[in-house]
């Protein structure tokens, strides 16, 4: 595991219409136990609400849990994050995502899709890596300006 000199800030949430939250709750608790700062929301967040929260809470990683096709609007979320100047924020998706749609998500900028059967260790390790990436990308972007 990478040693970090900061506490990753992660937002664990659900967008769209589905309310099954067993996965998001377990992942949120695992991230918290792994030493991250977790911002957790109830299901059914709108895309603007997630963008606003990511901005206000200054998160490194956004984790979207999708069990019932809500991942289909994640490309819209990606566009909205970029538009809000949050291109450095890393987005991961967990849940039920068919192979052909995983490809579309990755193309839209999603960093990784976690499928059923992923271990909490796996997920938290990757979240920390992505948090590092996000910080570096953020710092690089600031230098440019």
């Amino acid at each position: 595991m990478t040693t970090l000199d900061f506490r990753p800030r992660v937002l664990v949430t659900k967008i769209g219409l589905d309310g099954h939250d067993r996965g998001s709750r377990i992942v949120a608790a695992a991230c918290r136990d792994a030493g991250m700062e977790v911002i957790y929301t109830p299901p059914w967040q709108s895309i603007p609400a997630v963008v606003k929260l990511a901005q206000e809470e200054d998160v490194d990683v956004v984790g979207i849990s999708s069990l019932a096709t809500d991942h289909l609007i994640v490309p819209k979320l990606m566009a909205a994050l970029r538009e809000a100047g949050l291109a450095n924020v890393r987005v991961v998706v967990g849940g039920i995502v068919p192979d052909n749609e995983e490809k579309l998500l990755l193309e839209s900028g999603v960093r990784e899709v976690f499928h059923p059967g992923s271990t909490m260790d796996d997920i938290t390790t990757r979240m920390r890596e992505y948090a590092c990436e996000a910080r570096k990308a953020g710092a690089a972007a600031e230098e440019k300006t």
Binding site: G16, L17, D18, G19, H20, D21, R22, R25, I26, A28, A29, R32, Y40, T41, P42, P43, W44, A68, T69, D70, L72, I73, K76, I96, V97, P98, D99, N100, E101, H115, P116, G117, T119, M120, D121
Partner: protein, 561 residues
């Protein structure tokens, strides 16, 4: 760690054969595993007549069709009439749904089940949500015309229809209107307001957004009262253990929460002056069947006799029909794996067998591809075939309660019963299910159990084939690209809906909405009756839900991590 020696052995009351087995077992097993089932009951290596006698519960076994119904609620059980084959279906437009439904009925399904799009569940119409999500998880039904199209060619007075429809039961209202237009007498309509249990939605499925807790409580009571009068063969109450178990509750917890919810709803009805024997025969239950095979069988057998006692002793029902624990069950989707997905067919088979041996009345088998997609046509077909094979090739229906009398099953049934009753006591101590849910107690218990199970899987204590053991690079799965509903057809459905809405008389719509408010504001008004009238007047799902949210309060999630 070796198990301590059975004290009866030391007391010298044990037969030489048993003593020998015990000796040989202990020397051969070496370090014995500490085995517990998911509900936390320790599991012995062998069960004998002593275990059954030790529980002192022998007289509870009885006969099928007789209280306490341990062996089944009907004298004939599956030998007479097998379970209803009820596959949950829902996708796309009403025309898409209708095509899939007619195909399933042709291939052996014997009942209708309709699952709406999540937008409908959430109380929205199709013109207020992200178009990408329309019809991806269920059929887009927003008014009575849509329901009529869904059920075209289906004899709704002959076949039992389940509407997966939380409060305020708009889908059932649409169905009633569709039936009325076909000249069908509501007295002939059979089926279930599936998942009408607002408490389980609130706790585990979070489909409560439609109405606040007190609002949903009121509407459920109105729904039960209305159905008794106008659609007496319809089951207005479906108490759900499936949501909580899928969310992580153990089998014992899920059964306990369900029974406590049934008691809460029954007592609410009785509090409104209803006679228990007029409402309880129309209570049905809906459960999850996990892969913990014997535990599930014992869960159902124990639940059945606890309910018989509760109905009789606590709720004061005198009619035997009130004591019968009728349940639908669905194989657990959580147990299915994305890895090596064809293995899921074996999982579903074992789950279905547990449900059948548990004495279910109606069964949904999951499609093997559910762990990575909304079920495909091929997946759904294999799920139906699995039921046909178990029934007609494997002959599981020849004998009633075939595991009855098994030392293990009977002993486990006793222990599950004890566990379930203890959990129900915790709920009672918290003031009953409504209060326990309001306070977040149930949510916390479920969260803790979900976490415990996850840790077992991650530690490898609970094997999941293909996931934490026996992994393979090539899983022989043919994962065809998942196709979403045809966007052009959905757009046409949307355009027609908008046009139909615009063509309505605003006076008629306004009056129907005001009638809803009047019913909600009056203590004696029946909100569900007003929902049916509204559906007839052309109100849409969102119009009805929005108005009732305004009048009865909007549900907010209680988040417990």
């Amino acid at each position: 760690m070796n198990k301590p020696i059975d004290p009866t052995l030391l007391a010298g009351t044990v037969s030489p054969a048993r003593a020998r087995w015990q000796r040989e077992y202990q020397s051969d097993i070496g370090e014995d595993r500490d085995v517990h089932n998911v509900s936390g009951i320790p599991i012995q290596p062998l069960y004998t007549a002593d275990d059954r006698a030790a529980s002192g519960n022998d007289e509870t076994l009885g006969y099928p069709g007789q209280p306490d119904y341990t062996r089944g609620i009907y004298a004939t059980m599956h030998r007479g009439r097998t379970w209803t084959q009820r596959q949950l279906v829902g996708l796309g437009t009403p025309a898409d749904y209708n095509e899939r439904l007619l195909g399933l009925l042709d291939r052996g399904a014997t009942a209708v089940s309709l699952i709406p799009c999540n937008s409908v569940y959430r109380g929205y119409d199709m013109d207020s949500v992200e178009p990408e999500l329309l019809g991806t998880c269920g059929v887009v039904v927003n008014n009575a015309d849509h329901m009529d199209r869904c059920l075209a060619g289906v004899d709704v007075d002959e076949i039992s229809c389940a509407m997966n429809d939380p409060s305020p039961f708009t889908l059932f209202a649409f169905m009633l209107v569709a039936a009325e237009r076909r000249g069908i007498d509501w007295n002939r309509i059979t089926g279930t307001s599936n998942q009408s249990d607002y408490l389980s939605h609130y706790v585990a499925n979070h489909m409560f957004y439609r109405l606040s807790l007190p609002g949903a409580r009121r509407v459920l009571m109105d729904h039960i009262a209305w159905c008794r009068q106008h659609a007496p063969r319809w089951n207005p109450m479906s108490v759900v253990g499936q949501h909580t178990q899928q969310a992580g509750a153990t089998p014992a917890e899920a059964m306990a929460f369900t029974l406590s919810t049934a008691v809460q709803n029954a007592e609410d009805c009785i509090g409104r002056g209803m006679n228990p024997d007029e409402i309880l025969p129309r209570f049905t239950f809906f459960f999850d069947i996990s892969l913990s095979f014997f535990e599930e069988i014992a869960k159902f057998r124990a639940g059945r006799r606890i309910w018989a006692r509760l109905a009789k002793e606590r709720l004061g029902a005198k009619d035997e029909r009130s004591w019968r624990f009728k349940f639908h069950a669905q194989t657990s989707g959580v147990d299915l794996t994305r890895q090596q997905p064809l293995n899921n067919i074996a999982r579903v088979t074992a789950q279905a067998m547990a449900g059948i041996f548990g004495g279910l009345q109606s069964l949904h088998t999951d499609a093997y591809d559910e762990a990575y997609a909304t079920p495909s046509e091929a997946g759904a077909r294999i799920a139906v075939a699995t039921q046909n094979i178990l029934r007609e090739e494997a002959h599981l229906t020849d004998v009633i309660d075939p595991l009855g009398g098994s030392f293990y099953v009977e002993s486990l049934t006793d222990q599950m019963e004890e566990k379930i009753v203890a959990i129900m006591k915790t709920i009672d101590d918290a003031g009953g299910m409504y209060k326990a849910v309001e306070a977040g107690l149930v949510q916390r218990m479920i969260g803790a159990s979900a976490m415990r199970f996850q840790r077992k899987v991650e530690a490898g204590e609970q094997v999941v084939v293909g996931v934490n053991k026996y992994q393979a690079d090539d899983d022989f799965a043919n994962r065809p690209p998942v196709e979403r509903p045809d966007a052009a057809a959905m757009q046409r459905h949307l355009d027609e809906f908008k046009a139909a809405k615009a063509a309505r008389s605003s006076t008629v719509v306004g009056k129907a909405l005001d009638d809803l408010t009047r019913a909600a504001e009056s203590k004696d008004g029946n909100v569900f009756g007003a929902v049916v009238d509204g559906a007839r007047a052309g109100l849409t799902n969102e119009e009805i839900c929005t108005r009732l949210r305004r009048d009865l309060g909007f549900g907010q999630p209680l988040i417990v991590v």
